[in-house]
């Protein structure tokens, strides 16, 4: 049997006294688009950061293609084909657009690969090409989100983790972001794991959905089964438990 691309088993993370994740388990198959939906403070960002090595797991395992990676440094996990687009973009505002992208490409052993990727991405993101030598801090919010995604792709990932790509963006821009993600997926065949607060848009794009609340998975299902949104709503707000 083929091992899942990403598997998380019974993951616990806490910040001092406060538990952010309390036994999260999930799996993502190669080539899938999986979305984690949950309210503010559910632990979504912590989950992605823990997978990428940015926060230490207290307990549990993270497996990439069957290999345990929990405890590795973020730069080591990046070398295993995982790239994170964090919440709030976190672009390097004093670096130019090109420098932001080049930074993502440094982990290729062959500089030619990075150069080719850079040129390729400039074609996918014409707005970035036009501002290539601008300090990234001067881009608009939508452009910054595009840059953060492009920068993540520069590392040549097989799995991209995207934390709230629609945060703070106008609906029209969010459509563009998702169109770009779909295009990248079609061209490069990557696996996507996306966090969102709201499920309405994601139902169209995701293969499967997890609902995370209070640091635990409340619901898992295929997007088409959950299409009416009722089950998600119950898990999201926790009506399920209290009425049962």
């Amino acid at each position: 049997m083929r091992k899942p691309h990403l598997e998380v088993r019974d993951l616990h993370v806490s910040y001092g006294q406060i538990a952010a994740l309390r036994g999260v388990s999930l799996h993502v198959e190669r080539g899938e688009t999986v979305c984690i939906v949950g309210p503010n403070g559910a632990g979504k960002s912590t989950l992605l950061a823990a997978i990428a090595g940015g926060v230490a797991a207290g307990q549990g395992a993270v497996l990439l293609g069957g290999d345990p990676v929990a405890g590795l440094a973020p730069e080591a996990i990046a070398r295993r084909g995982v790239s994170l687009v964090p919440e709030g973009r976190q672009i390097f505002s004093t670096l130019t657009v090109t420098e932001n992208l080049r930074l993502g490409g440094f982990l290729h052993s062959n500089p030619g690969t990075a150069r080719w990727l850079l040129n390729d991405l400039m074609d996918v993101f014409p707005s970035l090409k036009a501002r290539a030598s601008y300090p990234a801090g001067r881009l608009s919010g939508g452009e910054q989100q595009m840059l953060a995604i492009a920068r993540a792709i520069m590392t040549g990932p097989e799995l991209i983790l995207i934390d709230e790509p629609s945060l703070g963006l106008a609906p029209k821009i969010v459509d563009q972001v998702y169109a770009i993600l779909a295009e990248i997926k079609a061209r490069r065949g990557v696996t996507l794991l996306i966090n969102e607060q709201s499920s309405t848009r994601i139902l169209k794009h995701a293969d499967r959905i997890y609902v995370l609340r209070g640091g635990q998975i409340q619901l898992e299902g295929r997007a088409e089964e959950l299409a009416d949104g009722e089950a998600i709503k119950r898990a999201y707000f926790g009506f399920d438990r209290e009425s049962a």
Partner: protein, 306 residues
């Protein structure tokens, strides 16, 4: 007028020294939030490496590395300090990577204490006269000005170092990694930037800058003692704060401002207040931290860092 030009030259040369010192401190602060008190001991070590260890005091100490041709002295001294800086990183600051900024400062205080006492143990507590590059202390007569050659050399070397450092930071792969790490270390690591390498490079550059400060300032001061580097680093600190902590251009500007301020205070302060020159400088640090915490020359992105 001649007097004023002379003062300006003094200010520029002293400012160069402080700017180099501030750059070494500011670089580490930007990346690690490390206020490295031990930078002064990096400078002292560079100076002491020039003379013979384990000798009793002599008015003019026998030169060791300092006797060599300058083309050999410079790389050797730089290498010694770089090795020292990398060793402190490896054995003290790397195990403390996740510690808070004040704990890091405490640790650097400890490193400074260990190094200072090592110098005491090896070279003794008395001041040593060091005749490095005697030729540089001579003066050139020009338009009624008497210009010590070393001042010209200091300003020129500083200019060259700064231009090459900024070219390195601007265009090289390591430069981009270092600048990214200074802005957001964690994000840089998510993109595969190796923390140990970036920090190692920053410590190495910091060590080279400390060696430069020592080699440029030594011919002017002529004598060294075990705490020789401390004031140079302390003024570097002042410069870093004045320039807005974490900003490298700010550190350079801060260094020159402090150099100018100190020289002017020395010349124009009434004689009875002159001894309190340093007290004014450090009082200024407190005032700036309280009133303008982002320094006198704020750069936008560093606002959140302090």
């Amino acid at each position: 007028m001649t007097q004023f030009l002379q003062t300006c030259l003094d200010a520029a040369s002293l400012g160069s020294i402080f700017a180099l010192s501030a750059l070494g401190i500011g670089l580490l602060f930007g990346i690690l939030r490390l206020a490295n008190v031990a930078h002064g001991e990096f400078i002292s070590t560079a100076a002491y490496s020039l003379i013979v260890p384990f000798t009793s005091v002599a008015a003019a100490s026998e030169l060791f590395i300092g006797k060599w041709h300058w083309a050999a002295v410079i790389p050797t001294v730089c290498a010694i300090v770089v090795v020292l800086a990398l060793a402190t990183e490896r054995f003290v600051f790397r195990p403390l990577r996740s510690a808070s900024a004040p704990v890091l400062m405490m640790a650097s205080f400890t490193v400074s204490y260990i190094l200072q006492n090592t110098v005491l143990m090896v070279y003794g507590s008395q001041a040593r006269g060091v005749n490095l590059w005697y030729g540089l202390t001579q003066q050139i007569q020009w338009q009624g000005l008497r210009i010590p050659l070393i001042q010209i050399v200091t300003i020129a070397v500083t200019a060259v170092l700064m231009v090459s450092l900024s070219l390195f930071l601007k265009y090289s792969r390591f430069g981009i990694e270092v600048r990214a790490a200074a802005e957001d270390f964690r994000m840089a690591r998510y993109l595969g930037v190796k923390a140990n390498r970036v920090i190692g490079i920053a410590f190495a550059i910091s060590g080279v800058l400390a060696a430069a400060v020592a080699l440029l300032y030594l011919p002017q001061s002529g004598t060294i003692n075990y705490a020789w580097g401390s004031p140079l680093a302390l003024y570097g600190f002042v410069a870093v704060v004045v320039g807005g902590m974490g900003s490298l251009p700010g550190a350079v500007l801060g260094g020159f401002s402090i150099g100018i301020a100190i020289t002017m205070l020395q010349v124009y302060l009434p004689p009875e207040l002159k001894p309190f020159r340093d007290a004014f400088a450090f009082g200024l640090v407190i005032v700036i931290l309280v009133v303008r915490p982002n320094g006198l020359f704020p750069v936008k992105h560093v606002m959140k860092r302090v």
